[in-house]
Symmetry: C2
Subunit: 525 residues, 2 copies
């Protein structure tokens, strides 16, 4: 299947045979999984012709694409199972049609038509969902509503440091547009290159900074969305106590309540000061205790990235067999000397060893080391597809839990997944890092690598994922800290949310979307 | 009418004739309003006998009170119009009955009975609403559901610094319970002495600290509420991305979706370091620019209390005819020297003059000056009732707005209210302070004093309030930053919220409360 359908990168970034040959021994060494002969992507079987195209009103026909590659691309997200299926040309739920509205009026026209025609609509931003958020499963001739034409910076309020961005704006484009204003969103989800402002809002995405504003929720000042019953626009407010927050109702609604068309987000200048340290901890739990002490000390470190010993070795952070804590401080104005000294003292008191530390040079506002790490971070999805082509099962999942339950959750999930891997894959490993830290808890993030049995990967992963999800739910975690619910997390999400809340959400959706066309199967239905 | 019905304090704290005589000249001097002869509270007319008592199941009869004073107390909040009406024995909407559940099972039993009997229920925490939140207007034999028996600390999670408190717990009781654990909620709304945890959650209350966690929203880790269709309990989580936040749906629901019975809140140790300064600004706008620079600098001052020149004189902050900024910094561990120097530099650059500054002694964890101010702050409602007895119209209202619109909003509201006061009261003044500051905006808080025409106060205030509300809405503000919506703010709240959100909220409420018994008229209906 065309790389455009399943790949992370631009068309010319598909891994070549030479790339795979070069990376294979490294992968085998790092993961301990015997790599297999590189798999050649298979051509896609043809798609049936669009059923909806002919019936579209002419005004919408101008927005429509029934190109098979386009449709196939919109039938998959970017989870492990999406990549596996995509490269084999297995796109079981390609939409009937892709519609690309140019503006809000187009979105409203699409909603009117879909409500009338009973056409299920799946809002599509960057298509990077790893939870089945954009895959129209079990729907009758569904339509993918691609927001990629609703792009760009609408307005800047320099006094309030807030910016209005259209929903389809990609991360790098948002940053490019803000740069002349001396501002940054300082929001870098791993999908930064490929995901959109609207997708962030709809899924409660999280950036890579460990504390402070973690989810986009805290950056949102107001949201505009088109619903089947009209425009939803909240007033721009720095804070309010007027009833339940309308913005918080849209945040995380994953396209089920309306189509986000733009948002006002809080921005900020680039930090003037940066400081970073690498510390070694005897194990993850000791490192986690240090992270807890740090965030509870009143410090707000930009980065408290803690990886277990195996991930530490894998990522080249430490080759000592210890867990590693990469600590970063940032400041707009104030020098960081005192905070840095405090942070190191807190870590030493918690039993950590300082490997290196120091101010980070601000070439162009960014330190080289932070830049290198961010580059590795956003490159991870590219690496993953090489692993998939080499027959390695590789996937991640995350949660969040209060500090009192953290160690038990990590132990239980690790044990359950390790056990499932042995059973299902005959081996494999699960590693853990803490990606985000709060005064009252943290977000553990698990990475699984194992030998894939070609053709059986979906069943393999389903069983491993279920084992992990059951264990983390039993240990008090959330089914997702920042990957959203989509279709894949429904069983655990349904069990997690308060039943009366589910009833209210379903009723609210019916009021907004009486025809039930907005992303059916996601969150509800 | 009994002081218990309309007064802020304990029975022995009612202002005496001597108190009033002493305060009268001070009030006259400070407000410029000619005080009137102290008004003697009038006895209440009798209430009709309860219609619902006899029909209560025996299990609920044990929770019921039909005492007239009790019923009258539950028919009023604590707004200016409540105090005026209360002291005159004018309680037009006293509930038919007061029910005081002892536990969640009782709450559920009350909801079952009320849904069956069609009895409107008004959840009642401390009864300090200033927006008609607890006054059962236009309801058929309504019942006040007083949560005062659901009190106390349920559990402490020391590792996560989180505490579970029952809904009826008053502020001081919560602090007393946390003190042995070395924790504080650090949450002090002006109603602190009389308001409850459940009330804070239901109304999105704000504490007096100017930045950081402003609303209780940011302290909430999970909420338990009883709804007519069952228990609503969110998982305790430090953060989550699993669908729209259930907690945020309850926050601000003002008793319309369910009855909050307990909440897990984030707590913290007392700060070890405090620093305070008083600065003078030529006017409020210059002071506001300094506050903006402070919060946008990356500092997170505990206090950025800016009062205009008149309030500065009134409160004795500065006698120089200048606006005053009271600035406070706090820290758990780090000394504040550098932040303090930065803060003063930012203020000087913005054109402010430093009047005094320095570290605040931490006697028992609290500085004397902060303590004195907090005492004045929580005493304000006592002072207000003396003003009312002396024939002074006195009320406040607040909003929040982005920085780009702040100066215009303050000017427009001041002009509109001044004009209304001249027209309605033949004079009077409106002053302004900024109570809370965000990177993208601030919360202006207006205080009105004017000569009251006895017997006409409600009409007077209604006209002045409407003028202020219209002006602030037109200028882009929210109808309430932290006083909630209740019944009084409905016209402006209805205009402010997105129409599709209102439709979803109403549908959600119908799903949870099919009989429509939960606080009808508040937010909805």
């Amino acid at each position: 299947m065309s790389y455009a359908v399943w790949g992370w990168g631009a068309p010319d970034e598909a891994p070549t045979a030479a790339d795979l040959a070069a990376v294979a021994p490294v992968v085998q060494e790092a993961t301990g999984v015997a790599v297999q002969a590189p798999e050649a992507p298979r051509p896609a079987p043809g798609l049936p012709p669009s059923r909806r195209l002919a019936g579209l009103p002419p005004s919408l026909r101008a927005l429509a694409s029934d190109d098979p590659v386009d449709r196939a691309r919109h039938g998959l997200g970017r989870s492990y199972r999406d990549v596996v299926r995509g490269l084999r040309g297995d796109v079981p739920h390609a939409p009937d049609l892709v519609l690309r509205p140019r503006d809000e009026a187009d979105v409203a026209a699409v909603l009117d038509w879909a409500s009338e025609a009973g056409a299920p609509l799946v809002p599509f931003g960057g298509g990077t969902s790893v939870v089945g958020g954009v895959e129209p499963v079990g729907l009758d001739a569904p339509v993918s509503l691609d927001l990629q034409r609703l792009t760009g910076l609408v307005e800047v309020d320099a006094a309030s440091r807030a910016v209005q961005l259209r929903a389809g704006t990609l991360g790098p484009d948002a940053e490019r547009a803000l740069r002349p204003h001396g501002l940054t969103l300082r929001f870098y989800p791993q999908s930064f290159e490929r995901s959109t402002v609207g997708g962030w809002v709809a899924t409660r995405a999280a950036g890579h900074f460990s504390t402070g504003p973690v989810h986009v929720d805290d950056l949102v000042e107001s949201v505009r969305a088109v619903t089947p019953v009209g425009l939803w626009e909240s007033r721009r407010l720095p804070g309010s106590g007027a009833g339940p927050s309308p913005d918080r109702a849209l945040l995380g609604s994953e396209g089920t309540l309306g189509v986000v068309t733009s948002a006002w987000l809080r921005a900020q200048p680039r930090p003037a000061h940066r400081w970073a340290a690498t510390l070694a901890a005897p194990d993850l739990a000791t490192g986690a205790a240090a992270v807890r002490a740090l965030v509870q000390s009143g410090l707000r470190p930009a980065t408290t990235r803690l990886v277990d010993a195996r991930e530490s070795a894998l990522t080249g952070t430490l080759a000592t067999g210890e867990a590693a804590l990469v600590l970063g401080l940032e400041s707009l104005h104030a020098p960081l000397d005192h905070d840095a000294a405090t942070a190191l003292e807190v870590c030493r008191d918690a039993g950590l060893r300082v490997v290196e530390s120091g101010a980070v040079a601000s070439g162009g506002g960014r330190g080289a080391s932070a830049e290198a790490w961010r580059s590795t971070f956003v490159r991870a999805p590219y690496l993953r597809e090489s692993l998939v082509l080499l027959g390695v099962l590789v996937e991640t999942f995350e949660t969040a839990v209060t500090w009192d339950r953290l160690d038990a959750l990590v132990a239980d999930v690790t044990a359950a997944v390790t056990d499932a891997l042995a059973r299902v894959c005959g081996g494999g490993t699960v590693t853990c890092r803490l990606t985000h830290a709060y005064p009252d808890g943290a977000a553990p993030y698990f990475t699984v690598t194992a030998p894939a049995r070609r053709g059986a990967e979906l069943a393999q992963w389903a069983e491993v994922k279920a084992a992990g999800a059951e264990a983390l739910a039993a240990a008090g975690g959330t089914i997702t800290h920042h990957h959203a619910v989509g279709r894949d997390h429904r069983p655990w999400y349904d069990a997690q949310r308060p039943a009366p809340f589910a009833a209210a959400l379903a009723a609210g959706k019916r009021a907004l979307d009486p025809a039930g066309v907005l992303n059916p199967g996601v969150l509800l239905g």
